[in-house]
C-alpha cells in the first residue's frame, strides 16, 4: 500500500470494570501517557487532540478540559461525538488530519467512570435519553428495548434465533477470558445465557453490553515512529442513516454499516476475504449478528449457523472481538468502541498473547452509535 497512509503508532487501555477511586480525567491521563509511551514519544510531541464525551465529566469542551489536565496545549483539539462509533470516527478524523499535513501526531482519547462514578441505574436512565424526547422517551424506551425491537424483526425476517445469539455471547466471553484487563472472565455457558433474566424480550442479560469504568488511547501519526510493527490505516468509511429508531431505515436492515464498510474496503482495495481478524461493535449480540451479515462477512441468514459452528473463535474463519468486546471486555461509553481499535492494533503487532490470531496482517474494525444509527469502518494493515 502507499506509504502516505496514516499510521497507528501507539495504543493503551486501562483495565475495565469497577475501578474504585478512578476519575474520568485520571483515566484519560493514564491512557494518554500510555499511548504516547507505546509510540516511544512524549506528550509534548502531540500536536492534535481528539476527545469525546463523558457522563461523569459532562463538560461540552472536554478536549480543552483534558488538555488542561494533561498540561498540554496542542495546535489542534476537538471533541468527536458519535456514540459507539466515536473511537472509529476519532481515528478516521485523525487520519485526515495527519494525511492533510495539519498535524503530525493526533492523540485520540476516550474514557468514563460511569460505573463507579454514578448512582446505580443512573447510566441506564441517562442512556434512555438518547431516545427522541417527544416521540420515544415518553413510551419508556431504553437502549436495550430499541435493539430488542430491531432484533425481533430481524429474527422474524431472517430466521436468526435466540440460541444463535447466545452463541455470540459465549464466544465473546471465551475471548475475554484470555485478556487480563477484561471485566468478565468467568466461564459462561450457552445455558447460562439462555437462562439469564429477560431485559427486553428477546434480549436477555448476557445479550447486553456491560457498564464499565475504563479508557482507551490511540495515537495516529503521519509516519511510523519506529517503535514496533508498522500499522497503517488503509481504509476508512462512515455512514449515518438516522439517529432515532422511529426514523431508521424502514426495513430495519439497511443500516449504515453496509455502506461505511463498502467505502473502507474500496479505499483499501480489499474485500472481506482479505481480513484476518475482525473487531466489530457488539453493544448487543444482535448488533454483531446484523453487522456481520450487512458488511458481507456472512450471507444474510447464515450468521446463526456460522457462530454456532465456531466461525468467530480464534481458530474460526473470522476470529472476532478477540479482546472480549463490549459484551465481556467492557463498555465505558465512547471508549467501548475504541477498545476494538486497540485490540486490532495489538493483533497486527503480534502482541495479543494467548488470544493472538497467528500472522494477523489485516484487521477490520467497526463501530456503531445510537440504535445502529452512526457507523464507522476501518481497515488496518501491518506493513511488511
Amino acid at each position: 500500500m502507499g506509504t502516505s497512509k496514516a499510521a497507528i503508532t501507539g495504543v493503551a487501555n486501562t483495565a475495565c470494570g469497577k475501578l474504585e477511586g478512578s476519575t474520568c480525567l485520571g483515566l484519560h491521563a493514564e491512557v494518554a501517557r500510555g499511548a504516547v509511551a507505546d509510540a516511544g514519544l512524549e506528550l509534548g510531541d502531540v500536536d492534535g487532540l481528539l476527545c469525546a464525551y463523558s457522563f461523569t465529566e459532562p463538560h461540552p469542551m472536554l478536549a480543552s478540559v483534558v488538555a488542561e489536565y494533561l498540561g498540554i496545549q496542542p495546535a489542534y483539539s476537538a471533541c468527536v461525538s458519535a456514540g459507539g462509533a466515536t473511537g472509529g470516527l476519532q481515528v478516521m478524523t485523525a487520519k485526515a488530519l495527519v494525511e492533510s499535513g495539519m498535524c503530525r501526531h493526533v492523540l485520540c482519547l476516550t474514557g468514563d467512570n460511569r460505573l463507579s462514578g454514578m448512582a446505580p441505574g443512573a447510566a441506564v436512565a441517562a442512556l434512555a435519553q438518547f431516545g427522541h424526547g417527544q416521540f420515544e422517551v415518553p413510551y419508556g424506551i431504553t437502549i436495550p428495548a430499541a435493539y430488542a425491537m430491531v432484533a425481533r424483526r430481524y429474527m422474524h425476517d431472517t430466521g436468526l434465533t435466540a440460541s444463535d445469539l447466545a452463541h455470540i455471547a459465549v464466544t465473546t466471553r471465551n475471548h475475554a477470558r484470555r485478556h487480563p484487563d477484561a471485566q468478565m472472565r468467568k466461564p459462561l455457558s450457552h445455558d447460562d445465557v439462555m437462562g439469564s433474566r429477560v431485559i427486553a424480550d428477546p434480549l436477555r442479560l448476557f445479550d447486553c453490553a456491560l457498564i464499565s469504568d475504563g479508557a482507551a488511547g490511540i495515537l495516529v501519526s503521519a509516519a511510523p515512529t519506529g517503535n514496533g510493527a508498522e500499522v497503517r490505516i488503509v481504509g476508512a468509511g462512515q455512514k449515518n442513516t438516522h439517529e432515532h429508531l422511529i426514523s431508521a431505515p424502514r426495513d430495519l436492515q439497511s443500516f449504515g454499516c453496509k455502506f461505511s464498510a463498502r467505502d473502507a474496503f474500496a479505499e483499501a482495495g480489499m474485500t472481506t476475504a482479505d481480513i484476518d481478524v475482525a473487531e466489530i461493535y457488539d453493544s448487543f449480540t444482535i448488533t454483531l449478528a446484523i453487522e456481520l451479515e450487512s458488511i458481507g462477512f456472512f450471507p444474510k441468514g447464515a450468521v446463526g449457523e456460522a457462530v454456532s459452528g465456531g466461525a468467530l473463535d480464534l481458530g474460526g474463519s473470522l476470529p472476532c472481538n478477540t479482546h472480549g468486546g463490549l459484551l465481556s471486555f467492557g463498555h465505558s461509553g465512547a471508549a467501548g468502541g475504541a477498545f476494538h481499535v486497540v485490540e486490532a492494533v495489538r493483533q497486527l503487532r503480534g502482541q495479543a498473547d494467548d488470544r493472538q490470531v497467528p500472522d494477523a496482517a489485516r484487521a477490520f474494525v467497526h463501530g456503531d452509535g445510537g440504535v445502529l444509527s452512526a457507523h464507522v469502518s476501518l481497515i488496518l494493515e501491518r506493513q511488511s
Binding site: G133, Q134, F135, G140, R153, A200, D201
Partner: protein
C-alpha cells in the same frame, strides 16, 4: 408536587409540534403533508424530510396501523416506568405511512404479534395525551 424521578415523562412540545400535541389533547391524531412533494411528514416539523419543502396544514389521520416490530420491556429506564414493567413498546406503521413508537395497551403483552392490526387510542398524561396503540 410530584417527584420528577417518579413521574412519567411528558413530551415537551416546541413551535413545530405544538399543533400535533394540542390535537392529541383533544383526542385527535393528526399528520401533515409536504406542500411540495405530498409526502406525509413525521415527526411534525416545518420542513419535509424527503424534499425540504414546507409542511402544510394538519389533517386527521385514520388511526389505523400495524405492528412492524415490538419488545416486551422488562428493565424500565427508571422508577417512573418500574410499576408498568413488563410493558410492550412497538413500532406502529400507520395507514398513511409514518412510523410511530407506542405502547401496545389493553391486551396481554404475550398476545402482541408482528403484523397485528392496531388502532390509536390516547393515554392521559398530565394535561397532555399520548397516542397509544390497542388491538383493532
Amino acid at each position: 408536587m410530584t417527584d420528577p424521578v417518579h413521574a412519567l415523562p411528558l413530551p415537551t412540545p416546541n413551535a413545530e409540534s405544538q399543533a400535533f400535541w394540542d390535537a392529541c389533547a383533544d383526542g385527535r391524531l393528526t399528520l401533515a403533508r409536504c406542500t411540495a412533494c405530498d409526502a406525509v411528514q413525521f415527526p411534525p416539523q416545518n420542513s419535509c424530510t424527503d424534499c425540504g419543502g414546507a409542511t402544510g396544514a394538519p389533517f386527521a389521520a385514520t388511526g389505523q396501523g400495524q405492528v412492524f416490530t415490538f419488545t416486551i420491556n422488562h428493565r424500565a429506564p427508571g422508577p417512573a416506568f418500574a410499576d408498568r414493567a413488563p410493558y410492550v413498546i412497538a413500532l406502529i406503521d400507520l395507514e398513511e405511512g409514518p412510523r410511530l413508537m407506542m405502547n401496545v395497551i389493553n391486551c396481554a403483552p404475550e398476545d402482541v404479534t408482528i403484523g397485528m392490526a392496531v388502532r390509536v387510542t390516547f393515554e392521559a398524561r398530565g394535561e397532555m395525551a399520548l397516542p397509544q396503540a390497542e388491538p383493532a
